[in-house]
């Protein structure tokens, strides 16, 4: 079955077309506001027409037979992939206020998709689904219960598709360096906003992100964990409003803030040198170590570490370093923790989830093929 994968965001629409039986996409691309001839008002629904044109013009052997749309947020409503129906759309609309930047344009895209391809089944996959059942103790904040209820606040992870597949991959490490079980896994997703989860079996028990993806590890432009007192200080001292602070924390911080220029996670560890880069590299590595230590405490042990995401190959740098630091309390006689990497790109994992969901089977993953 040919599957068209769509990944809408507020600034671009990524797409990939997979032919039946092939792991690599026949077509892959991205439409952003420049391609749509508009500036500052990108709508993924407008971009969809261009995706269809690209599919038609391509030399891909077959037209799409199934559309899979990846949504970063599905709230507590969506714990698994969902076939789009009127009822599903209604439930999504009800969640829009919880992810106002993401869900409204995604909803517009889904509606455009239904109009353009009325017979086409559309399956939604959700990054948060894997984290809906986080334990109560990990879900919450030390906040006033009334405010929590009023604002619908709880914590999630936002790279669930990578984590879920990566944890299945960990089972391959059984037998490596005497490992007899791989139930307790530290899953390190190396995306522009990296995220670490601690997973027992198939259940996450800790994750670095929070009510939004801003919490946790620093990203390429996002600050990650921050003293709440600093946010208040920026408002008081500089007179900044919430939008101005948000722009600073999400667009000008993280690795960009530390180094003074835009830099990818990959570039940070592989390409560039200098005092600011070195500090940023140390900050990132240190924050990962803290998160991994917290993850081990959350699970009570660690059997394996798995890296995933577009910068998965940084596992070569980070894997030995983290595994060595986490060996049972640094005792030299402790066995080193095995680690591995998931090489599959996100589009492929989404296509797999979509295909499995459509077939009505349990989700099969790339690693089993």
């Amino acid at each position: 079955m040919n599957i068209l994968v769509l990944r809408p965001s507020w600034k671009a629409l990524d797409y990939a077309l997979f032919d039946a039986g092939r792991r690599r996409p026949a077509l892959v691309g991205k439409i952003n506001e420049r391609d749509c001839g508009r500036h500052g008002a990108f709508a993924p629904s407008d971009a969809f027409r261009r995706v269809l044109e690209a599919c038609r013009k391509s030399h891909a052997p077959g037209a799409p037979e199934l559309v899979g749309i990846r949504l970063t947020f599905g709230g507590e409503e969506f714990t698994e992939p969902a076939l789009v129906t009127n009822a599903v759309l209604e439930r999504l609309r009800g969640l829009a206020h919880q992810a106002p930047l993401h869900l409204p344009p995604a909803l517009a895209l889904i509606e455009r998709c239904r109009e353009s391809l009325p017979e086409m089944p559309i399956i939604l996959v959700f990054e948060t689904a894997f984290f809906v059942k986080l334990p109560l103790r990990e879900r919450g904040y030390g906040m006033d219960a009334g405010v929590v209820q009023e604002l619908g606040i709880r914590r999630y992870g936002y790279h669930g598709i990578f984590h879920e597949t990566a944890c299945k991959l960990a089972s391959r490490l059984v037998g490596v360096r005497g490992t007899s079980s791989c139930r307790r896994v530290l899953s390190i997703c190396l995306e522009p906003r990296p995220e670490i989860a601690a997973v027992i079996g198939r259940r996450p028990v800790m994750v670095t992100s929070g009510a939004t993806p801003l919490e946790g590890l620093p990203g390429q432009t996002a600050c990650g964990e921050l003293d709440p007192g600093i946010v208040l200080h920026l408002a008081r001292k500089l007179g900044w409003g919430p939008e101005q602070i948000n722009q600073c924390l999400t667009g000008e911080s993280g690795l960009a803030g530390l180094t003074g220029h835009r830099i990818t996670l990959d570039g940070l560890f592989h390409d560039e040198w200098g005092p600011a880069i070195e500090l940023a590299r140390q900050v990132m590595r240190y924050r990962m170590l803290l998160a991994c230590g917290a993850g081990v405490a959350a699970m009570g042990w660690v059997d394996a570490i798995v890296f995933s995401g577009r910068y998965f190959d940084l596992g070569e740098v980070l894997g030995p370093w983290l595994a060595g630091r986490l060996a049972v309390n640094g005792r030299s006689e402790a066995p080193e923790i095995p680690w591995t990497s998931l090489h599959e790109p996100l589009d492929r994992l989404i296509a797999d989830q979509v295909a499995a969901a459509f077939a009505g089977r349990a989700v099969l993953t790339a690693v089993t093929e």
């Binding site: 600050c223 208040l232 919430p242 405490a297 309390n329």
Partner: protein, 410 residues
């Protein structure tokens, strides 16, 4: 040398007169309900020679509380102080070690008052009053943040624009340093090793504020509190770590001014905000232990409080590497075995093996509540910030430098 130590809280003033270097308490006490009138009258609970008395007297501010305390001490010649030590919560970037108060010290203190608006202003006022009344007495300021000046750059730096951080001084300062330094030196003494060979995680769990400190070679390398005392663990009324986007959402809410959000996160969150009934984790745990258990809100409060603590302990044990000890101190850390049990059980990955019986029956301090086979000792140590300050004052004035930094506890 008699050292008079002041530990000034937002509405209280603790004091101890300690004969150094013998570390013998000559007198001590606490001025309570300092500030605007409350439902109960202000009083000083004064301790001397094994006796305790209460003196009821109005104390509208810390300067007047200081005057009343000095009246109580001043009646006897042998209670005259030779030096004064002040606990200061925040030293900002200006004060990275303990200092002798000089002419330019007070203006510099006033400049950093806003960094700890609840604590620093009354402490600064007290230093001024003390200097005015006893200009001849040497005064030493001991900063809670000073012990954390050894935190490396990669741990004290926030991932914010570097220029903004440098302009506003947005770095991790860390807090409770006086207590962490004191229990670290006591732990080293107890374990019979040199302080500069001690690797540990110190858990200062107060009934109000709380923080963990990662200690390598006797020095602080990280603290869960940050730029302000709001970051880190869930505390009695403080939220601890929070998604920055949530603080922004609160600011953007109708009526969400900075002051109101600050009040919400500092005074109406934490255990109080979650449980809705009490700010004291001991009440929540007691309710949980009763037949039928706690209600949903108290259960949530207990779980989140303990879980955050456990995660940070794991994080810092990973940082420390081969830890010699986990140290529990201050009110909750010293007296609530359930907290130690919940946080340390199932932590064999870090070499911790708590002995439940020893943990439940601590009668003598310091106590080691780990099993004999545990790779990491679990110590319960009574903190003594006033004594730590007296040591700092004594060693600074005797010319041997800041006590907490160079002391050899072998």
């Amino acid at each position: 040398m008699n050292v008079l130590v002041f530990n000034c809280g937002s509405s209280s003033l603790k004091y101890r007169l300690i004969a150094m270097p013998g570390e013998r308490e000559l007198a001590g006490g606490e001025a309570q309900r300092v500030g605007p009138p409350t439902a109960e009258p202000s009083r000083i609970v004064h301790r001397i020679g094994g006796r305790e008395e209460s003196v009821f007297v109005p104390m509208p501010d810390h300067a007047s509380a200081f005057g009343e305390v000095m009246k109580l001490l001043g009646m006897r010649q042998e209670l005259r102080p030779d030096a004064v030590g002040h606990r200061m919560v925040h030293g900002g970037s200006r004060f990275k070690a303990h200092v002798l108060v000089e002419a330019d010290t007070l203006p510099a203190l006033v400049e950093i008052n806003e960094l700890a608006p609840l604590h620093n202003p009354p402490q600064t006022a007290l230093v001024a009053a003390c200097r005015e009344r006893f200009p001849e007495l040497p005064q030493v300021l001991v900063f809670d943040t000073a012990y954390h000046s050894t935190i490396p750059d990669y741990a004290r730096t926030y991932a914010l624009p570097a220029k903004l951080c440098s302009k506003l001084g947005l770095y991790k300062h860390g807090f409770h340093g006086t207590s962490h330094a004191y229990v670290a030196s006591e732990a080293a003494r107890f374990l019979g090793r040199k302080l500069d060979h001690l690797n540990a995680v110190s858990c200062h769990l107060g009934s109000g504020g709380a923080s963990l400190c990662a200690i390598v070679g006797g020095q602080s390398v990280d603290n869960t509190m940050g730029y302000s005392p709001l970051q880190g663990l869930v505390m009695s009324t403080r939220c601890g770590d929070l998604d920055p986007a949530l603080t922004l959402r609160l600011l953007a809410r109708p009526g969400g001014g900075v002051k109101s959000v600050e009040g919400l996160l500092n005074r109406k969150s934490g255990v109080l905000g979650m449980s809705g009934s009490t700010a004291d984790i001991r009440d929540v745990l007691a309710e949980r232990a009763r037949p039928g258990g706690a209600d949903a809100r108290a259960e949530t409060a207990a779980q989140i409080y303990l879980w955050r603590l456990r995660k940070y302990l794991g994080a810092y044990l990973a940082v420390v590497g081969s830890a010699d000890a986990v140290i529990f101190t201050d009110t909750i850390g010293e007296t609530v075995p359930q907290v130690r049990q919940a946080v340390c059980s199932g932590m064999e990955a870090f070499g911790i093996d708590l002995d439940p019986e020893r943990n439940a029956n601590v009668k003598v301090y310091p106590a080691d509540v780990a099993t004999d086979d545990s790779l990491v000792r679990v110590l319960v140590i009574l903190t003594n910030e006033e004594l730590a300050i007296a040591r700092c004052v004594h060693s600074l004035l005797m010319g041997s430098g800041p006590a907490g930094r160079k002391e050899d506890a072998a």
